[in-house]
Each structure stands twice: as C-alpha cells, then as structure tokens.
C-alpha cells in the first residue's frame, strides 16, 4: 500500500450494511476473532429495510439465522407461519388452495418479521459480538464507494468518515448496492431483471388477528393472491400475520408494471379493497406504514462470481433473492451467503492472493446448493421457450378456449392444480409470463371459485397521506437522485412506476408537467427527492444519477 492509504484507519474486515446478510457475516467474522467494523447508513439497522416479511430456515442450508443469533425467533421475529394458502381471483370469484406442503418443503421453520424490529435486534447482537474483537457497528454512515490503490480495491470511502482500509470488504448494502456497481458487478439496465414490492403494515391487535384469521396459539398464517386483481400486471399479492399487525403487499415484475402503465399504490389498493380481504380487514383499517422495495430476480441476476479482489457481495447486493411464483426467499440466502463469505475469509487468512477469499466463497455458494436454489438449472432450460412471447400467446389462446377452461375446470384438474402448486419442482419451472400470474389463476377462479357476495369497507389512505405518515430526515439542498434526462420518453415511466408518485398526484417524487416553450407545449418530467422511499425503481426505469442519501438522511421506516 502507498503512504496515503497507510495513513487511513484499518480494520481487518469492513461489513457494509446491517441487514441479515451483513449481520451474519459480521457475527461469523467476530466468532472467528476478526476485527470487524459494520457500517450501516440508517439511523438504526432496519430503518432503511423492507421485505415482504417471511424469513425461512431451510433444512438444507449450511446456516440459519437462529444458528448465528440465539434467541432470534423469540426476540426478533413476529410469529411463526405454519399455514399457507393461495387465492386465485377473478372478479368476485375466488378459488383457494392450501399451499402448506410447498411452504414446508425443506423448511425447518418460517417466521413473519418486520425489519425495523428484526434488524435493530440483530444490530445490537452484532455490536456485542464485534465489540469483543475491536470493532463494532456504526449507524448513520453511508459508504459511498470503494477505496482503490493502484486499481486494487483496498477499502471503502464514506460520506461521514475518512476512508477506511480493510482486508475484507463485505458489500451487504442491499438491492441498490453502490459497492457492487462501483466494482462493475451489477447494473441497473433491464426492468425485466427486477420485481417491485409494495407493502402496507396494517395495525391490528393480537386478539383481533387470532379471531379474524381463526388462529390459536403461536402460529400464524400466510395468504397469497393472484388473478385479475391487478389489471393484467404480472405479479401477486401477500398477507402475513404479525404479532400485532398484518403485512399486506404486492410484488410485480417491473417490466410488466411499466408496460401496463400501472400505478403500484393502486394495485396495492386493489388488493386491500377486494372483498376477499374484507373478512379480515372489515371496517377498521388502520395503516401504520407504506413501504416499497426492489427485488432482484435471482434467476436472471444472481451473480455467479460475487467478488472482486477483497470485495465480496452478499444478499440482495449479489442478486441472491429467490422469487419464483409464490415462493419469496431472500433473507435466508443472505444469511447463508454472509456466513459463508466470513468463513471463506478466515479459511484464506494469510493468503497472498487478495481474491482467494472471494473465490472460495463463490465455490461454497455452489457446493452448498445455494446457487442452484437461486438460479435453478431447470428454469434455465424452460425459460428459453417459456418466456418467448409467441409461446405465451399460444398457451394463452388454449387456456382462453373452451377446451382449456374445461380442462382446468374438471375435478381432476383441480386436484392436479393443488398438487402442482405444492410441487417445488413444478414451481421452479413456472415461466414468468402472464400465464402463470394472471391467466391461469383467473381461469381457475372462474371455473372452481366461490363467489363473494359482499363488498369491502376498506378505505386505504391516499398517496399523499401515506407520504405524510412516513418519517423523513431530508438532506436539504443535497438531493441524492439527479434526473439526467427530463424528457417523457426517457423518464416518463417513473411518474407511474415510482411507488410514491402518480400521474394524478403532484406531491410525489416524479411529476409530469407541461411547459410552454416558444409557443409549443412539451411534457417534461420533474423530480423532488423529498418523498423518496429509496426503492431504486427510478434508477431502472428513468434516466437518473442514483445514490443513497447520506447517512441517517432520507426516509426512516418504523416497521419495514
């Protein structure tokens, strides 16, 4: 190293991000006696984090979160989920299947979680562990890039601190990882590589939840929704029971969202106000928090070699998010990856090759079977024909035909469908087309469903109210996103796809407005980052210069 980088503070390992991936890496490093500094940009771990809300412990996984953090289930999670249903919806018609077999496949346990509570609990445990080896957790610190010396990655640079050098840099900085991008390991180019999730945390006391969902004891329930609820946008919805709240959300393919010119909050509202949910939500809907997140589609973007020099990527930063049909698993894979990265570093400690740890980490991801879950070989084979538009259209035509409907409508098909939904093998082959998400469930509901004869009394808050209820610490005069191209062609999609903007709403991040220039009117897009919830959608669908806000600035999730 040169004199300049010699003068910087040095830690053996720097972990960027205090989510489950970063926590697992830091905990394992500390257990190995490695001096580990964890840098988290939120005011507290979890304040920047959102997930649908189920964390799995897989029987086949080398690490689970409760292996690493004793007491996790008792103290950090909401409640176990042991019951799993999917509802196919067509208008007021609904056909429901139990999915418990699928849910329990390879599952040791599964808990509903809220990220603020969970991640802040992890942060405290990680701080205890890392403090013992000369490090610790610092919050409110945004790592903004990699420190290089002669082209070699030697550390990180931060908004709030002087540069720091390290022998290992763990980028666990989430779906919009600035470090993965700095290293050239990720990009933000293709909307079809991403999902966008939008979620409402709904206030409901424990007794009411148990009563309305028919729950007894500790165990909670998960419900999934698909069909024609969502204007033909490919995706679905979910509802999980927490300790004293519900997590209700929708997840859509970003390319489909853009193509259908849909407004994410309206799709969420369509779910919330569907009569099917009226039985649970009734007339006392109180929303605690509105949130959104991008989800990498690991089938397409999981990085086969998530390392460069001393840098390793874990979790969303490496695209390690398994989202296939009704299965959404991310946090468990991040935990595995974080722990494996830490072990790999320790195994290669003292190696002259700075990349040795990264290489070993990638090998272990393969060997442990993690990569195969994230990017199944079966999917690779089917995808080639399955996602071809011509094939989709052909399948759609058959399903739409009387023959198709009859076929799916007969009792044997009903039984077969239930079986199919519960087969991890079949599910992993399901191509990401309209067929799986919309057409098939719609027909299923039409043919097999019962009709709901009641309406909904749920009146979800407006987007303005939702933004108003969120907590922000705005970095005045220092917007973290810059709109590079104001034209509607380049950036107009953001007005709709941004979860806190809408075509009809002027108070969000993105607005389109007509400006008059020399007598001609032109529609341009403008941006106000103040209401931004940092999901990253606009980085993909608009022409922006996108960064995270400085440490502690921007939105602060209370639930997550």
């Amino acid at each position: 190293m040169t004199d300049e980088t010699d003068a910087y503070e040095h830690y053996e390992a720097v972990v960027v991000g205090g989510g489950p991936g970063g926590a697992a890496a830091a905990a394992r490093l500390a257990e190995h006696g490695v001096e580990t500094l964890v840098l988290e940009r939120g005011t507290e771990a979890g304040s920047k984090n959102v997930s649908g809300g189920l964390i799995y412990a897989e029987e086949s996984a080398p690490y689970t979160i409760d292996d690493l953090f004793e007491g996790f289930r008792e103290e950090a999670s909401e409640r176990p989920v042991t019951d799993y249903h999917i509802h196919n919806v067509a208008g007021d018609s609904v056909k429901s299947y139990e999915l418990t077999d699928l849910h329990e496949h390879d599952t040791d346990w599964c808990d509903a979680v809220l990220r603020r509570r969970m991640d802040s609990w992890l942060q405290r445990r990680v701080h205890e562990k890392t403090s013992e080896t000369g490090g610790g957790v610092l919050t409110g610190v945004r790592v903004n890039g990699l420190l290089r010396d002669g082209g070699e990655i030697v550390g990180v640079t931060c908004d709030e601190l002087e540069p720091i050098t390290a022998d290992l840099i763990v980028a666990a900085d989430g779906v919009n990882s600035e470090l993965a991008r700095d290293a050239g390991l990720m990009d933000w180019e293709e909307p079809d590589e991403w999902f966008q999730g939008v979620k409402a945390v709904v206030d409901m006391d424990r007794e009411t939840i148990d009563d309305r969902f028919g729950l007894e004891g500790e165990d909670g329930v998960a419900h999934l929704f698909s069909g024609d609820l969502f204007e033909g946008v490919r995706g679905g919805g979910f509802l999980y029971t927490n300790a004293d709240s519900l997590s209700i959300g929708t997840v859509f393919h970003l390319d489909s969202l853009v193509e259908e010119r849909a407004e994410p909050h309206e799709l969420l509202d369509a779910l919330l106000t569907h009569p099917l949910l009226a039985q649970w939500l009734r007339d006392d809907y109180v929303e605690r928090e509105y949130a959104a997140k991008l989800v990498p589609d690991s089938k397409k973007v999981v990085h086969p070699e998530p390392y460069r020099g001393r840098l390793v990527l874990v979790g969303d930063a490496a695209g390690q998010m398994q989202a296939q049909g009704p299965i959404i698993k991310g946090m468990n894979h991040a935990v595995t990856a974080g722990a494996l990265a830490a072990d790999a570093f320790v195994a290669e400690r003292g190696s002259a090759d700075p990349e040795a740890a990264g290489r070993r980490y990638a090998n272990w991801l393969e060997e442990s079977g993690t990569m195969d879950k994230l990017r199944p070989r079966r999917y690779e084979a089917v995808r080639a024909v399955g996602e071809d538009d011509r094939v989709t259209d052909a399948v759609e035509r058959v399903l739409d035909s009387r023959l198709g409907s009859l076929a799916i409508g007969n009792p044997i098909a009903d039984w077969a469908l239930k079986r199919a939904y519960n087969s991890p093998f079949l599910i992993s082959m399901l191509p990401d087309t309209r067929t799986g998400y919309v057409t098939l469930p719609t027909i299923v509901a039409e043919e097999h469903g019962r009709t709901l004869h009641w309406g909904s009394e749920v009146d979800p808050p407006s987007l303005e109210e939702r933004i108003g209820d969120l907590t922000y610490d705005t970095d005045v005069g220092n917007p973290h996103i810059e709109l590079r191209d104001q034209s509607a062609d380049s950036s107009g999609d953001a007005v709709r796809a941004c979860p806190v903007s809408a075509e009809s709403f002027g108070g969000g991040c993105y607005r389109s407005e007509e400006i008059k220039r020399n007598g001609t009117a032109e529609t341009v897009v403008s941006l106000d980052t103040q209401p931004c919830i940092e999901c990253g959608t606009c980085a993909i669908v608009a022409d922006t210069e996108w960064e995270h806000p400085r440490g502690g600035k921007g939105v602060e999730y209370r639930e997550g």
Binding site: E464, G468, T474, V476, G477, Q486, G506, G507, R511, E513, I515, K516, R517, V524, V525, S526, L527, D528, Q530
Partner: protein
Amino acid sequence: MSDSNTDDETDDGLGHPTRDKKHVRALEDGHYEDIWVFCETQRGELLDVSLEMLGKARELMDQFADDYGEEERVVAFLMGDDCEGLAEECIARGADVAVYHDDERLERFLHKPYTEIAAHMARGEGSLESTDWREYDKPRYVLFPATNNGRDLSAKVQAELDSGLASDCSDLFIEENEVSNPVKTGEPGVKKTFEKVLHMKRPDFSGFEYSTILCLDNPGREFHPQGASVIPGSFEPMEPDPEREGLVVEHEMELEDDWFRVEITDADRLEEGVDLTGHDVVVCLGRGIADDPTGGMELGLELVDAFEDAALGITRGIVTSSYEFEGHVEAYASEERQIGETGQVVAPDLYVAAGVSGAVQHKVGMDESDTIVAINTDTDARIRDFSDYFVEGDLFEVLPRLTEAVKSDAAEIALEPTPDAEAEVEAGAAVGGDEDD
C-alpha cells in the same frame, strides 16, 4: 466615593476570605451621569443596530431633559483599528460625545481587551486631557447591541463594573419606580422610590412573556451603570445630521500583551443566503403560476415592491418544478427562497399565499404568521384550513388588483387624508415625508 474593593476588605472578619468578595467593585455614594452607547463596528463600518441605539438614546435623553430639567449626554464609545471617522459619524447620529480607542490589534472583537478598555473608559480612567470632559464616577446607563459580540461584551463590562444587565431588550424608558424589596430598600416593610430608573423590557421565557427588568442599587453596593443590550431592529436611527456638534475624544490606555492571548487567525464572510424572516410581509407563490411561470413571478414581485418591507417566497413545488423561468426572475425560483419544513420558517404580520395548495410541509413554515391571505382557484385546496382570508380566484387576476390597491392606498394616505383613516394618515404622512428625503 469609596471603593469597596480593597485588599483588606476581602477578609470578612470570619477568619477566611470568601470567594465572592473579590468581585465586589461597586461604589457607595457614587456619582453617575449620561447614557453610554457601545457602537459596534464591522469591517470598518458602524452596525445598523449601533445607529438605532444612538437614535433611541437621543430620544431618551431629550425626554430626560424635559422630565428632570437636567441635560445629560449621549456618549458613544467604540474601538477598533481606525475609528475616528466613525466616532464623528456617531455625533451626526445623535451622540454628544464619542470616545474611541484605536489600536491595530483591535480590528476585530476580542473579549479581554475590549472589556478592559470599555471599563477603563466608563470609569473615566486615563489621561487628564482625555477625561476632563466628565465629572462622574461611572455612566448612569449603558447600552450594547444584542449581537453575538455585543452580548458578550455587555456581560463582561457589567461584570467588571460590578453592575447588572438586561439583555435582548426591545423597549426602554426612564421613570421612577417604587420598590418594597428589602434587599433594595435596606429595610423590610419600607418602600423606597428610585428616581430615573431605566426600565428595560425584554421577551422572556422563550418568547412567552415580556419582563421589565430594573437594575437598582443596594445600600452600600451601587449597581451602575444600569445596562441593557438591545435587539437589532428595535429602534429607529436618527437621520444623520452633519451639522450636529459634539466632542470626539481619543481614549488613551496601555494594552497589555497578555490580553491578546485569544488570537483570531482567520475570518470568512458567510455566504449570504436569502433571509425571508424578519419582514413585515411575505408573498409566497405556489404552483398556481404554472400557466405562465415567469408572468406569475413578475406579479408576485410587483406586489412585494408595493409593500414597505416584504419578501418573496416560493413553495417546494416551484423549487422542484421544471418551469422555465426567463432570466430576470430565474434567481427567485431557487431553493434559498423556499418556505416550509425543509426551507425557511417565517412568521410575518401578513402572509399572502398565491396559488399555494398548502401541503403540511408548507404549513409548518408559515402558520405562525399573524394574518394569512390565500389566493386560489381551488376551494378544496388545503391552505383554506389555515388561512384567514381565502380569495377564490386566479392569482393572475387577483395579484395585479392587490398591487394596484396597495400602491394607490399608499399614495392616497400620503396625499389625500380621509377622515376615517386619520391616525394612519398622520403617521403615514409624517414618515412619508422622511422617505422623500
């Protein structure tokens, strides 16, 4: 006169000297005259508040002469590296005497030397030539500006003179006061009337209350000068009168090197931002100007100009818009004029919100204003909930009418008194005359 701060008196006879005695420097049976005004300078000029204090001191002492039939003087005192010209300016601005101390090391404010010099001046120490214009122990009253440096100096000078101080005053008057406090009267149950007491009114308790502070002698320990620091903008300066006669005195004193143990190594002017606070009126424009942003901005500025003391603000919606403003109004669309949660918080007497929808974030920036007038075509606009008047109309039509009315009213008031607006008319006319100069 007797000075109670002598070495043998620091022993109170109990066998051990107490820690408080060394600070007792007050007099008994002292002789006090005049009002002293510390005229703070910055970058070679008198601060506005220095002129305002001189104006107020002049007014107080003219009244004093009327009330008591005794002429006492307004004494400006100042220090710096080249103050003679400024001392002369103080005379033109109402002082009878201006005492100054020049030293190149005094270019910028320093606690120790400034306090030592000020106390030295106030006690009338120094060469005979520089003190023969006065025959008293200490000033009767003293005023300081309530600026960062002025407040510090006031506290220390009054400490050195062993007297009291009311800081951040916004009103001052002199009259008698009857007191029954035994500490001040010397005897419980006895009332005593103090003459020529400076009444110092100041906002207190985080702005919840006005307190009137008096600085009164104890028997045996006289607290003079009665001191106040004055909030900038509280009083009107006198128009400069170059013909005014007065005495300019250069003060002489040896400055000890040890007083310069605090060193100023650098000074940078802060970037001057736009300050929307402290104006009587704020006109704020919102996205209602969308149809013609430049035109809307011009109309807002015209209304601002029609007022005596107004500023133009904008909403966040304008800051983040893609409006194309023409060059001459573009500067007004920047973030530094934004009112609201992430901008400036204003509380003027009058707030005119034109084409402002009234987001919650905007409300927190202006809802402490005394009177709020909203102009909006949309009667559902949220600003209606926190306005006093809601003019239901297009700002492009309403603003020019307001501007015209305010302008013509001003002219009318000044030129053509009508019986029902007499009080306003007289005042307006009087000051209007000043403005014409």
